[in-house]
C-alpha cells in the first residue's frame, strides 16, 4: 500500500515539475507527459524496477482513464449545440478524414514495419490519449506505442500544421481549426487557440467529434485489416 502510494506520488510530482517547466518556457515540445516518461525511465532502469511492477503499483492512476473518457462527453455536449447547423459538413469531412488517416497509417505501417500490434497503435494516434489507448487495447495493439505516437502526432500538427495550411492556401480559422483539431487533438488545439478564439473553438470541436468517429469506424476498419493481414492465404 505504502509502495503503491509512493509510486503514484512520484509520478504526480515529476509530472507537476514538468508541467511547471512547460508553463515557464511555453515551449510546445516540452510536453509534460513526454518529460515525465523520460524522467521515470532512467529512474526505473537505475533502480531495476520492471515495467510490470511499476504498472501494477500505479494501477489506480491508469484506472482513472475510464472516467476521464466519460468526462469528455461534456465538451462534446457543449459542441453539439454549435454544430447543429453544419453537422452534415462536419460529419462528412471528419468521417472521410478519419477513414483516410486510419487506412494510410495501417497500410503504411504494415508496409514499413509489418507488425500488426504497431500498425493498430499507429492507426489510433490522431485521437485524444484516453480514447486512443482504450481503442488500441480493444483491438489488441501496443498501447505504449499509441501513447507516444499520439504525442508525436500532436507535436507535428501543432508545430507544422498552421504554416503548412497557410502555404497550401487554407487560411480560414474554421478550416485550420478543424484540420489541426482532427489530426493533433488537444496538443494541436491548445497551440492554435493562441492564434484566435475561433481556431480554438473549431479545434476542440474537431478533436472531440473525430475521436467519436474514430471510436465508431476505427475498429471496423482496423479489425478487418488485421484479419486481412494475419490470415494466411
Amino acid at each position: 500500500m505504502l509502495s503503491a502510494l509512493s509510486y503514484i506520488l512520484l509520478t504526480i510530482i515529476i509530472y507537476q515539475i514538468s508541467a511547471w517547466c512547460q508553463r515557464k518556457t511555453s515551449a510546445i515540445w516540452l510536453n509534460p507527459m513526454l518529460l515525465t516518461i523520460s524522467a521515470l525511465i532512467p529512474i526505473m532502469l537505475w533502480q531495476n524496477i520492471s515495467f510490470q511492477y511499476y504498472f501494477a503499483q500505479t494501477k489506480e492512476l491508469s484506472n482513472l482513464l475510464e472516467p476521464a473518457v466519460v468526462a469528455l462527453g461534456y465538451p462534446l455536449y457543449q459542441h453539439l449545440k454549435t454544430i447543429k447547423y453544419h453537422w452534415r459538413l462536419f460529419l462528412s469531412v471528419l468521417t472521410l478524414g478519419v477513414a483516410v488517416v486510419v487506412v494510410i497509417s495501417f497500410t503504411l505501417s504494415m508496409a514499413l514495419i509489418n507488425i500488426p500490434e504497431v500498425a493498430i497503435a499507429l492507426s489510433y494516434k490522431s485521437v485524444t490519449t484516453p480514447i486512443g489507448i482504450a481503442l488500441t487495447d480493444a483491438s489488441g495493439g501496443n498501447s505504449a506505442i499509441t501513447a507516444f505516437a499520439i504525442i508525436l502526432a500532436g507535436l507535428f500538427g501543432a508545430l507544422l500544421g498552421p504554416s503548412w495550411l497557410n502555404y497550401i492556401g487554407v487560411r480560414s480559422a474554421k478550416a485550420q481549426g478543424l484540420a489541426i483539431g482532427a489530426a493533433s487533438h488537444a496538443l494541436g488545439t491548445s497551440t492554435i487557440s493562441k492564434i484566435s478564439y475561433e481556431h480554438g473553438a473549431y479545434g476542440s470541436l474537431a478533436l472531440i467529434v473525430s475521436a467519436m468517429i474514430t471510436a465508431i469506424i476505427g475498429p471496423l476498419l482496423v479489425d478487418n485489416f488485421v484479419l486481412f493481414y494475419t490470415t494466411p492465404l
Binding site: 509520478t11 504526480i12 509530472y15 507527459m33 513526454l34 515525465t36 516518461i37 521515470l40 525511465i41 526505473m44 532502469l45 511499476y54 504498472f55 492512476l61 482513464l65 475510464e66 472516467p67 476521464a68 473518457v69 466519460v70 468526462a71 461534456y74 455536449y77 453539439l80 472521410l96 478524414g97 488517416v101 497509417s105 505501417s109 514499413l112 514495419i113 507488425i115 504497431v118 499507429l122 494516434k125 490522431s126 484516453p130 482504450a134 498501447s143 505504449a144 506505442i145 507516444f148 508525436l152 502526432a153 507535428f156 500538427g157 500544421g161 503548412w164 495550411l165 480560414s172 478550416a175 485550420q176 478543424l178 484540420a179 489541426i180 489530426a183 493533433s184 471510436a215 465508431i216 475498429p219
Partner: protein
Amino acid sequence: MNYVIIKNALYSIVAIMLCLYLGKTVHHAFGGLPGSLYGMIVLNIFLYFKMINAERLKATIEWIIKHMSVCFVPAGVGIIDHFDLVAQHGLAIVVVIFISTMALVTAVGLMVEKLSSASLENQSSDV
C-alpha cells in the same frame, strides 16, 4: 472552503461514475465500443435531456480535462519493454506518424475550405 464547490465536485463524480457503469453494462450486453466510450455517450444523452445539470459539472470536468494527462504516464512508460522495437523501427514509426498526420491536416483543411465556401453560397441562395 467553498461548500458549493465540494458539493458540485461530488455531484460530478457520482454523475461520471453512474455513466461509466451504465456504459460498461451496455458493453457487456452488446460488445462493440469500450465501456468508457458508451459512458461518454450516456453522459451526453443525460445532459441533452437535462437529467444531469451541466452547470454543476462544468468546473470539475474542466479540472479533470486539464490534469488528466498524468493518468497516461504509466501506459507510456510501457515503452521501456519495447526498446528493441523502437531501436529497430523507430524511424519508420516516426515516418508513418508524420505522413499520416500531415495527410489528415491537408485533407480536412482543403475539404472544409472548399465545402464551407460552397455551403455559404447555398445558404445565401436559400435566403
